[in-house]
Amino acid sequence: MLNVLAQTAAGEMLEGLKAIGAGLGYGLAAIGPGVGIGTVVGNAISSMARQPESAGMVRTTMFLGIAFTEALALIGFVVFILLMP
Protein backbone atom coordinates (compact mmCIF):
# COMPACT_ATOMS: atom_id res chain seq x y z
CA MET A 1 0.00 0.00 0.00
CA LEU A 2 2.78 2.39 0.97
CA ASN A 3 4.67 1.42 -2.16
CA VAL A 4 1.62 2.24 -4.27
CA LEU A 5 1.23 5.57 -2.51
CA ALA A 6 4.89 6.34 -2.97
CA GLN A 7 4.69 5.54 -6.67
CA THR A 8 1.67 7.73 -7.21
CA ALA A 9 2.44 11.20 -8.45
CA ALA A 10 1.95 13.84 -5.80
CA GLY A 11 -0.40 15.83 -8.01
CA GLU A 12 -2.63 12.83 -8.65
CA MET A 13 -2.83 12.07 -4.97
CA LEU A 14 -3.71 15.67 -4.22
CA GLU A 15 -6.53 15.54 -6.77
CA GLY A 16 -7.83 12.35 -5.22
CA LEU A 17 -7.72 13.79 -1.73
CA LYS A 18 -9.49 16.91 -2.99
CA ALA A 19 -12.28 14.79 -4.45
CA ILE A 20 -12.62 12.81 -1.21
CA GLY A 21 -12.69 16.03 0.82
CA ALA A 22 -15.28 17.59 -1.49
CA GLY A 23 -17.55 14.56 -1.23
CA LEU A 24 -17.17 14.33 2.54
CA GLY A 25 -17.79 18.05 2.94
CA TYR A 26 -20.95 17.92 0.82
CA GLY A 27 -22.26 14.94 2.72
CA LEU A 28 -21.59 16.54 6.10
CA ALA A 29 -23.08 19.85 4.92
CA ALA A 30 -26.29 18.08 3.93
CA ILE A 31 -26.81 16.61 7.43
CA GLY A 32 -27.55 19.91 9.17
CA PRO A 33 -30.26 21.06 6.75
CA GLY A 34 -31.75 17.55 6.87
CA VAL A 35 -32.15 17.86 10.63
CA GLY A 36 -33.47 21.41 10.22
CA ILE A 37 -36.04 20.42 7.62
CA GLY A 38 -37.15 17.57 9.84
CA THR A 39 -37.69 20.01 12.69
CA VAL A 40 -39.56 22.46 10.46
CA VAL A 41 -41.89 19.82 9.02
CA GLY A 42 -42.42 18.15 12.38
CA ASN A 43 -43.49 21.38 14.00
CA ALA A 44 -45.63 22.32 11.00
CA ILE A 45 -47.48 19.00 11.18
CA SER A 46 -47.95 19.50 14.91
CA SER A 47 -49.43 22.95 14.22
CA MET A 48 -51.74 21.59 11.51
CA ALA A 49 -52.93 18.87 13.89
CA ARG A 50 -53.75 21.45 16.56
CA GLN A 51 -55.34 23.95 14.19
CA PRO A 52 -56.39 22.34 10.91
CA GLU A 53 -58.05 25.60 9.79
CA SER A 54 -54.64 27.28 9.65
CA ALA A 55 -53.11 24.55 7.47
CA GLY A 56 -52.72 26.88 4.47
CA MET A 57 -50.79 29.48 6.43
CA VAL A 58 -48.66 26.86 8.17
CA ARG A 59 -47.80 25.21 4.86
CA THR A 60 -46.75 28.53 3.35
CA THR A 61 -44.47 29.25 6.29
CA MET A 62 -43.19 25.68 6.20
CA PHE A 63 -42.34 25.96 2.50
CA LEU A 64 -40.36 29.14 3.07
CA GLY A 65 -38.65 27.62 6.12
CA ILE A 66 -37.64 24.56 4.14
CA ALA A 67 -36.29 26.73 1.33
CA PHE A 68 -34.27 28.86 3.75
CA THR A 69 -32.86 25.76 5.46
CA GLU A 70 -31.99 24.26 2.10
CA ALA A 71 -29.74 27.22 1.39
CA LEU A 72 -27.24 25.70 3.85
CA ALA A 73 -27.10 22.54 1.78
CA LEU A 74 -26.64 24.65 -1.35
CA ILE A 75 -23.59 26.28 0.26
CA GLY A 76 -22.16 22.79 0.77
CA PHE A 77 -23.06 21.95 -2.81
CA VAL A 78 -21.28 25.04 -4.12
CA VAL A 79 -18.15 24.22 -2.10
CA PHE A 80 -18.31 20.68 -3.51
CA ILE A 81 -18.49 22.02 -7.08
CA LEU A 82 -15.64 24.46 -6.46
CA LEU A 83 -13.40 21.78 -4.90
CA MET A 84 -14.15 19.01 -7.39
CA PRO A 85 -11.15 18.53 -9.68
Binding site: G34, G38, A55, F63, A71, V78
Partner: protein, 151 residues
Amino acid sequence: MSAVTAEPSTAATEVAVAIDLVRRAAIVSPAFLLVGVLGWGLEGLLSSALALVLVAVNFRLGAAIITRAAQISPNALYGAVLGGYVARLALMTAVVLVVKALGVLATVPFAITLLVTHLGLLAWESRHVAMTLAAPGLKPTNQTPQEKRST
Protein backbone atom coordinates in the same frame (compact mmCIF):
# COMPACT_ATOMS: atom_id res chain seq x y z
CA MET B 1 -60.09 8.85 16.92
CA SER B 2 -60.15 10.51 13.56
CA ALA B 3 -57.08 10.74 11.42
CA VAL B 4 -55.49 14.13 11.15
CA THR B 5 -55.20 15.23 7.56
CA ALA B 6 -53.05 17.99 6.20
CA GLU B 7 -55.72 18.74 3.61
CA PRO B 8 -55.82 22.49 3.26
CA SER B 9 -58.98 24.46 3.51
CA THR B 10 -57.66 26.77 0.81
CA ALA B 11 -55.78 26.38 -2.46
CA ALA B 12 -52.18 25.21 -2.44
CA THR B 13 -50.50 28.38 -1.24
CA GLU B 14 -46.97 27.04 -1.53
CA VAL B 15 -47.50 26.65 -5.26
CA ALA B 16 -48.53 30.31 -5.45
CA VAL B 17 -45.38 31.23 -3.53
CA ALA B 18 -43.22 29.09 -5.81
CA ILE B 19 -44.76 30.62 -8.94
CA ASP B 20 -44.13 34.05 -7.49
CA LEU B 21 -40.51 33.09 -6.78
CA VAL B 22 -40.06 31.91 -10.37
CA ARG B 23 -41.59 35.15 -11.64
CA ARG B 24 -39.16 37.14 -9.52
CA ALA B 25 -36.28 34.93 -10.77
CA ALA B 26 -37.27 35.86 -14.33
CA ILE B 27 -37.18 39.54 -13.34
CA VAL B 28 -33.64 39.38 -11.90
CA SER B 29 -32.24 36.91 -14.45
CA PRO B 30 -30.99 39.52 -17.00
CA ALA B 31 -28.67 41.03 -14.37
CA PHE B 32 -27.09 37.67 -13.53
CA LEU B 33 -26.83 36.66 -17.19
CA LEU B 34 -25.16 39.97 -17.98
CA VAL B 35 -22.63 39.55 -15.16
CA GLY B 36 -21.97 36.00 -16.36
CA VAL B 37 -21.40 36.94 -19.99
CA LEU B 38 -19.31 40.02 -19.18
CA GLY B 39 -17.09 38.25 -16.67
CA TRP B 40 -16.75 34.76 -18.06
CA GLY B 41 -18.02 34.86 -21.63
CA LEU B 42 -20.33 32.24 -23.10
CA GLU B 43 -19.51 29.72 -20.36
CA GLY B 44 -20.45 32.29 -17.75
CA LEU B 45 -23.74 32.96 -19.50
CA LEU B 46 -24.57 29.25 -19.68
CA SER B 47 -23.54 28.70 -16.06
CA SER B 48 -25.65 31.58 -14.77
CA ALA B 49 -28.59 30.38 -16.85
CA LEU B 50 -28.17 26.85 -15.46
CA ALA B 51 -28.09 28.17 -11.90
CA LEU B 52 -31.26 30.22 -12.48
CA VAL B 53 -33.05 27.22 -14.01
CA LEU B 54 -31.95 24.98 -11.12
CA VAL B 55 -33.20 27.46 -8.52
CA ALA B 56 -36.56 27.85 -10.29
CA VAL B 57 -37.03 24.11 -10.81
CA ASN B 58 -36.01 23.45 -7.20
CA PHE B 59 -38.70 25.81 -5.89
CA ARG B 60 -41.42 24.48 -8.21
CA LEU B 61 -40.54 20.86 -7.49
CA GLY B 62 -40.47 21.46 -3.74
CA ALA B 63 -43.88 23.11 -3.82
CA ALA B 64 -45.34 20.38 -6.03
CA ILE B 65 -44.07 17.68 -3.67
CA ILE B 66 -45.59 19.40 -0.63
CA THR B 67 -48.94 19.96 -2.37
CA ARG B 68 -49.16 16.39 -3.54
CA ALA B 69 -48.11 14.85 -0.23
CA ALA B 70 -50.33 17.12 1.89
CA GLN B 71 -53.37 15.71 0.10
CA ILE B 72 -52.45 12.21 1.30
CA SER B 73 -51.51 12.44 5.00
CA PRO B 74 -49.14 14.16 7.44
CA ASN B 75 -46.91 11.08 7.41
CA ALA B 76 -46.71 11.26 3.64
CA LEU B 77 -45.92 14.95 3.93
CA TYR B 78 -43.06 14.27 6.33
CA GLY B 79 -41.63 11.50 4.19
CA ALA B 80 -42.09 13.34 0.93
CA VAL B 81 -40.45 16.55 2.16
CA LEU B 82 -37.38 14.75 3.52
CA GLY B 83 -37.20 12.37 0.57
CA GLY B 84 -37.77 15.25 -1.80
CA TYR B 85 -34.91 17.18 -0.19
CA VAL B 86 -32.49 14.33 -0.85
CA ALA B 87 -33.89 13.67 -4.33
CA ARG B 88 -33.68 17.34 -5.35
CA LEU B 89 -30.10 17.61 -4.09
CA ALA B 90 -29.18 14.43 -5.96
CA LEU B 91 -30.86 15.68 -9.14
CA MET B 92 -29.08 19.01 -8.88
CA THR B 93 -25.71 17.32 -8.29
CA ALA B 94 -26.23 14.97 -11.23
CA VAL B 95 -27.15 17.80 -13.60
CA VAL B 96 -24.19 19.94 -12.56
CA LEU B 97 -21.71 17.04 -12.72
CA VAL B 98 -22.89 16.20 -16.23
CA VAL B 99 -22.58 19.82 -17.35
CA LYS B 100 -19.16 20.04 -15.71
CA ALA B 101 -18.04 16.89 -17.49
CA LEU B 102 -19.08 18.51 -20.78
CA GLY B 103 -16.64 21.31 -19.95
CA VAL B 104 -19.05 24.21 -20.21
CA LEU B 105 -19.43 25.02 -16.52
CA ALA B 106 -17.82 28.17 -15.13
CA THR B 107 -17.97 27.41 -11.43
CA VAL B 108 -17.67 30.94 -10.03
CA PRO B 109 -20.64 32.57 -11.85
CA PHE B 110 -22.63 29.39 -11.27
CA ALA B 111 -21.92 29.46 -7.53
CA ILE B 112 -22.64 33.18 -7.21
CA THR B 113 -25.90 32.98 -9.16
CA LEU B 114 -27.11 29.87 -7.34
CA LEU B 115 -26.55 31.20 -3.83
CA VAL B 116 -27.50 34.81 -4.40
CA THR B 117 -30.71 34.04 -6.31
CA HIS B 118 -31.82 31.33 -3.89
CA LEU B 119 -31.34 33.42 -0.77
CA GLY B 120 -32.18 36.74 -2.41
CA LEU B 121 -35.44 35.53 -3.91
CA LEU B 122 -36.49 33.97 -0.62
CA ALA B 123 -35.74 37.16 1.28
CA TRP B 124 -37.63 39.17 -1.35
CA GLU B 125 -40.59 36.80 -1.28
CA SER B 126 -40.69 36.78 2.52
CA ARG B 127 -41.40 40.50 2.47
CA HIS B 128 -44.47 39.89 0.35
CA VAL B 129 -45.86 36.74 1.90
CA ALA B 130 -48.50 37.59 4.40
CA MET B 131 -50.75 35.54 6.58
CA THR B 132 -53.54 36.63 4.27
CA LEU B 133 -52.16 34.40 1.52
CA ALA B 134 -53.99 31.50 3.12
CA ALA B 135 -57.10 33.60 3.70
CA PRO B 136 -57.34 36.17 0.87
CA GLY B 137 -60.65 37.46 2.21
CA LEU B 138 -58.81 38.99 5.16
CA LYS B 139 -56.37 40.90 2.95
CA PRO B 140 -56.35 44.55 4.02
CA THR B 141 -57.32 47.12 1.41
CA ASN B 142 -57.32 50.89 1.25
CA GLN B 143 -61.13 50.92 1.23
CA THR B 144 -63.03 52.08 4.28
CA PRO B 145 -65.60 49.68 5.75
CA GLN B 146 -68.41 51.85 4.27
CA GLU B 147 -66.87 51.67 0.80
CA LYS B 148 -66.46 47.93 1.18
CA ARG B 149 -70.12 47.48 2.05
CA SER B 150 -71.25 49.56 -0.91
CA THR B 151 -69.17 47.53 -3.40
